[in-house]
């Protein structure tokens, strides 16, 4: 038998044993002391601290301010969005797989995904696991029906932004996105995960629309959250008692959330809808202003996007979700361009709960039975946010072409030129220039052509505007005004600078001048820095590097209509009009108006103007066509017939129009990218807008803008 008779004995063993014993005794004594401390001495203190610890402030999310159209129609509001959540700790473990399968059957939430989520948060059984976001009302009811078979499954409700008109005015309203870390650090009254405005009015009026969150003190239940539940009517409440019957909500510890301020717009939603409709599949913009005030009645740009997509996106979706859901549009890249069923129908304001269902259905692309918004939404989102590979053949949908698109103004620039030259007294209504169909500087050198190669003969400024005579304006620009004065008036009328509309991302356009050219070509040879007379000639008909936005041209149109003041366009009614002093004399305006009216006159006695399509009997309509070249004439000449010119080489079609004898005076600017000719592509749209608007409203008084206080807190 191994082992000695004397078990542990060796030199010093007593000391060792005593040491071990001492250590044990010490530990046990400390333990006893601590128990004494906890259970007898600091009893009250520990109890209080622990009680205090149980109370936990639950954030009550505030509702974002509602955005209204000028007639009080709701454009953007908030709906109750219901999520189905699972609290694993409240469901017997062995029943969890069964519950997950039931959920798959009832609300089509993949069971393996739910189980994976449960596994991920296995350490915190009382956390809420989101099974499915934004479920439809019918799905919600099915969950309630089966609630007996679904232990631990609850529904939570929170406000979610809803854009009632979908794509209509989508770019103007803008979209929401999750707050960034920097914003969260520097802004007050925001929480992580909040959605904040990223563009359009949502971005511009973020602080105005954002409310103040409230809170409510609730008793924390284990390591998880207190249970938000919904009653039969879908109203959320916090579970009041735990399994012992202890009250969970603390009395008097509640502060109601304050909703964000409402935003009343000048936008006429019917007109806006109509404008987007008539633009159809074209790429372009229609801007309609109240000529007297600058109130924006319509600001349409196509193609656009539906801001609902950004809201419905499931931020918590696991990344591997791709695997379980086959890409809907794989192999059919054009499937996205073709309008889906929900895009075809005219957007109608849906009310109440129907809308939330419609949203869920819209998110799934209509055809798929699932109400989950992720598949299509994510692909579209990727495209919108520029994450997907850009398709050069498809126009960018994020840019609003009305105020952020910059285009050479072409012939509509002649209105500006005529008004400036008349106001400077450099020409009179009687001044004539002879148009032989071409123009040479000093009678020699390169030729510039009039669009009508046979020439217009001897024309006055009125006729030049009506028939869009290029040679007349070559003369005015080069020999009368000169580039410096063009630059001066460009500044006065707000060309090449922002109009100041209350939208972020406005572009200023550009009217070139010698100073600009010198800076642009700094370091290059002198002849490249110098301004050449030929450039003034080009500039005179709105070419040669000049760019403007449709909004700027609408503002110019407005100043012709309203007696010569420059308006500041605005969307928020509370801003009110903000006009400059008079820039033009009555005489100047009378002449320009005469020219622009003649432009839309139809037929004999005088020949039809270029904009005769917009002629409206019994209404004083002004107009000016424009066709802005995007490539040199040489390129266009490579094609024999105009129809052969590829779309991307075609001119942008412009039309500015105004209505003088109605209230409100509409100032309209239509732009159709590569529309070829203003008279054919853009003028009919302006005519439609005029007809639609006045047929709809008849005589309207409601257009008086709300004269509210215009103090600075509107501005961020």
């Amino acid at each position: 038998m191994p082992g000695s008779k004397k078990p542990l004995r060796y030199e010093g063993v007593e000391l060792r044993v005593q040491l071990v014993a001492l250590l044990m005794t010490l530990a046990l004594s400390v333990l006893c002391l601590q128990l004494w401390r906890l259970q007898m001495v600091h009893l009250a203190e520990f109890r209080a601290l622990a009680e205090d610890n149980r109370v936990w402030p639950k954030r009550l999310k505030s509702e974002r301010g509602v955005i209204y159209a000028n007639d009080g129609t709701v454009l953007a509001d908030n709906r109750a969005s219901a999520d189905v959540v699972l609290v694993p700790g409240e469901c017997p473990k062995e029943r969890l797989p069964g519950v997950c399968e039931s959920l798959e059957r009832i609300i089509e939430a993949p069971a393996d995904l739910t189980l994976a989520k449960i596994q991920e948060s296995a350490g915190e059984p009382f956390t809420q696991i989101t099974v499915k976001r934004d479920v439809s009302k019918s799905a919600l009811m099915r969950v309630e029906e089966h609630s007996y078979d679904l232990p631990g499954v609850f529904t939570v409700v929170h406000p979610q932004r809803r854009y009632r008109y979908g794509k209509t005015a989508g770019q103007v309203l803008g979209y929401l996105n999750e707050i960034t870390q920097e914003e969260f650090d520097s802004w007050d009254n925001y929480s992580k995960g909040d959605l904040v405005g990223r563009s359009g009015l949502e971005g511009r009026y973020e602080k105005w629309l954002h409310g103040r969150d409230g809170y409510m003190h609730v008793t924390k239940y284990a390591a998880g959250l207190p249970q938000l539940r919904t009653d039969a009517r879908g109203v959320p409440y916090i579970a009041e008692r735990d399994s012992l019957g202890n009250t969970l909500e603390e009395e008097g510890m509640r502060q109601e959330p304050a909703a964000g301020k409402p935003l009343h717009l000048t936008l006429d939603i019917q007109l806006q809808t109509y404008c987007e409709e008539i633009l159809g599949n074209e790429t372009g913009a229609i801007v309609v202003l109240d000529g007297d005030t600058g109130a924006v009645l319509a600001l349409a740009s196509m193609p656009g996007y539906d801001p609902n997509i950004f809201v419905n996106r499931d931020f918590g979706a696991p990344k591997r979700k791709k695997k379980t859901e086959p890409k809907e549009n794989a192999g059919a890249p054009d499937a996205q361009t073709a309008p889906g069923p929900e895009e075809k129908e005219t957007p109608k304001p849906a009310d109440g709960q129907e809308a939330s269902n419609a949203q869920a259905a819209a998110g799934s692309g209509g055809a798929a039975p699932t109400a989950d918004s992720t598949p299509r939404g994510n692909d579209e989102l990727r495209e919108l946010l520029g994450l997907a590979k850009p398709d050069p053949s498809r126009p960018n949908r994020m840019i609003h072409r009305g105020y952020a698109g910059q285009y050479p103004p072409g012939s509509i620039f002649k209105v500006f030129l005529a008004a400036a030259a008349l106001e400077e007294g450099l020409i009179t209504p009687e001044t004539t220039f002879f148009c032989p169909g071409h123009f040479q500087i000093g009678g020699k050198g390169n030729s510039w052509y009039c669009w009508r190669h046979s020439g217009h003969g001897s024309v006055t400024v009125v006729e030049a505007l009506a028939y869009s005579c290029d040679v007349f304006f070559y003369n005015v620009g080069l020999n009368k005004l000169g580039v410096e004065r063009i630059a001066k008036w460009a500044h006065k009328l707000g060309m090449s600078e922002k109009t100041g509309i209350d939208l972020p991302g406005e572009m200023p356009g550009l009217i070139p001048d010698p100073e600009w050219k010198r800076l642009l070509n700094k370091g290059k040879p002198v002849w490249e820095q110098n301004w050449h007379p030929g450039e003034t000639v080009n500039l005179s008909i709105g070419q040669g590097g000049a760019t403007t936005t449709p909004l700027q041209n609408a503002v110019l149109m407005a100043s012709i209509l309203n007696g010569g003041v420059r308006v500041r366009p605005y969307l928020n009614q509370e801003l009110g009009p903000q006009n400059s002093e008079r820039l033009f004399s009555e005489a100047t305006l009378a002449t320009v108006i005469k020219g622009m009216r003649l432009c839309v006159e139809d037929g004999p006695p005088a020949p039809s103007g270029t904009g005769h399509v917009a002629y409206t009997p019994g209404m004083a309509v002004l107009g000016k066509t424009g066709s802005a070249q995007v490539v040199s004439l040489k390129v266009q000449k490579m094609f024999k017939r105009p129809e052969d010119v590829p779309r991307k080489y075609r001119e942008h079609a412009w039309f500015v129009a105004g209505v003088l004898d109605r209230q409100p005076k509409l100032a309209i600017c239509v732009l159709v990218e590569h529309g070829f000719h203003g008279a054919e592509a853009a003028a009919p749209l302006a005519k439609k807008v005029i007809d639609f608007y006045y047929a709809k409203t008849g005589s309207r008084e409601t257009m008086t803008a709300r004269q509210g206080d215009t103090d600075g807190d509107v501005l961020r």
Binding site: P2, P7, L8, V17, Q18, L28, Q34, L35, Y221, A222
Partner: protein, 370 residues
């Protein structure tokens, strides 16, 4: 030594009885408490069977090379197998269990026994070289490190800590140079520090231990609820079954954090009684070790005693906020099949050592100490 074995048996029986009662109470919060009770009783029964068997099994036969080798080999194999996904069951992020039929088996609990056995064998064999570094000190250190490392790979820190502590105590009592042990404290501490520092959840728990109130919503939550349970219990407690903290407020109430439930329901009287019972149990068990018929028995008995005493002291200190939160079952009391069965089996071995003890000497060396 019949006297001591009777004391050990009755103390263990008392603790197990309290355990069954408190586990039932702590799990009676919705859910299937009766099913839980049945399982607990079933494990106690299995444990008693194993205890009877091991108490009747001559402990010297554990020193048989085929027996201790197969025990060690089996333990190491199980520790490795449990790491294989599919065989090992993952619970709360750690792969520590094996599913066998309707039960979960925890190889690390078995490994604790294998380690004690192997160390007892080796320290007994090497007693001539106990004072030497390479033949006396490093082999047991190596053995302990292999076992602890394998358990550590299951993402468990509690049991490896207990293993290293027990190994240290056995080596100390086995006559290894104390200077070596003292010197190895520094690298051991460094290793522990690294394990904590590079695991965010452990670091968080450490900070939460230092000031739980700053982490009241996550890492400090359990400790604060534990304090609350003790405070609510006060002197006499609220009575068995009347505790509130177990109702979802105190996580792991029926397993690692059963001591606060005892504190709430049985009060200071109950908690002190538990501490005293453990102290008496340790004292008696060490006396058995001291009076073991030979060195192997003494090492075996002292290893077993150190293991459960250390674990009990450790988890009781954790729940009272004296040590950073680290889950370990309270021996004989907490719910947990493998742990309970293994503990009772080890008690059986201890009893066998006690039954074979020499007649007590007039002045037993260990007795007056502990």
């Amino acid at each position: 030594m019949k006297h001591e074995t009777t004391i050990v048996l009755s103390l263990v029986a008392a603790l197990s009885l309290v355990g069954v009662l408190m586990v039932y109470s702590a799990s009676a919060v919705g859910g299937d408490a009766v099913g839980m009770l049945h399982r607990e009783l079933f494990f106690v029964l299995i444990g008693l069977v194993f205890m009877t068997l091991s108490a009747r099994f001559d402990y010297h036969r554990w020193n048989d090379r085929w027996i201790y080798r197969s025990v060690t080999g089996l333990a190491l194999a199980l520790l490795l197998i449990v790491l294989v996904p599919g065989i090992g069951v993952k619970v709360d992020g750690a792969r520590r269990w094996m599913q066998i039929g309707g039960f979960r088996f925890q190889p690390s609990e078995f490994a604790k026994f294998a380690l004690i056995l192997l160390l007892a064998v080796k320290l007994n064999e090497n007693r001539e070289y106990a004072k030497r570094l390479f033949r006396g000190f490093l082999p047991p250190v190596g053995i302990a490190c292999v076992f602890a490392g394998l358990v550590l790979a299951e993402r468990d820190l509690g049991i490896p800590a207990m293993m290293i502590g027990t190994a240290g105590a056995m080596m100390f009592l086995g006559g290894v140079r104390w200077q070596f042990l003292l010197l190895s404290v520094a690298p051991g501490a460094a290793g522990l520090f690294a394990l904590v520092w590079f695991a965010p959840h452990r670091l968080r728990r450490l900070f939460a231990f230092i000031n739980p109130w700053d982490y009241r919503d996550d890492a400090g939550w359990q400790l604060i609820q534990s304090f609350a349970a003790f405070a609510r219990g006060s002197l006499l407690g609220r009575g068995v079954g009347a505790g509130e903290q177990k109702h979802g407020y105190l996580p792991a109430a029926h397993t690692d954090f059963i001591f606060p439930v005892i504190g709430e329901e049985l009060g200071l009287v109950g908690t002190l009684a538990i501490v005293i019972v453990f102290a008496c149990l340790a004292r008696t068990a060490y006396r058995i070790a001291a009076n073991a018929p030979d060195r192997f028995g003494a090492l075996l008995a002292s290893g077993i005693t150190t293991m459960f005493t250390m674990q009990a002291v450790f988890i009781m200190m954790v729940t009272t906020g004296l040590l950073p939160t680290k889950g370990l079952p309270l021996p004989f009391i907490s719910y947990g099949g493998t742990a309970l069965v293994m503990q009772l089996t080890l008690i059986g071995i201890l009893i066998n050592v006690g039954l074979q003890a020499r007649a007590p000497e007039p002045t037993p060396l260990l007795v007056h100490a502990v």
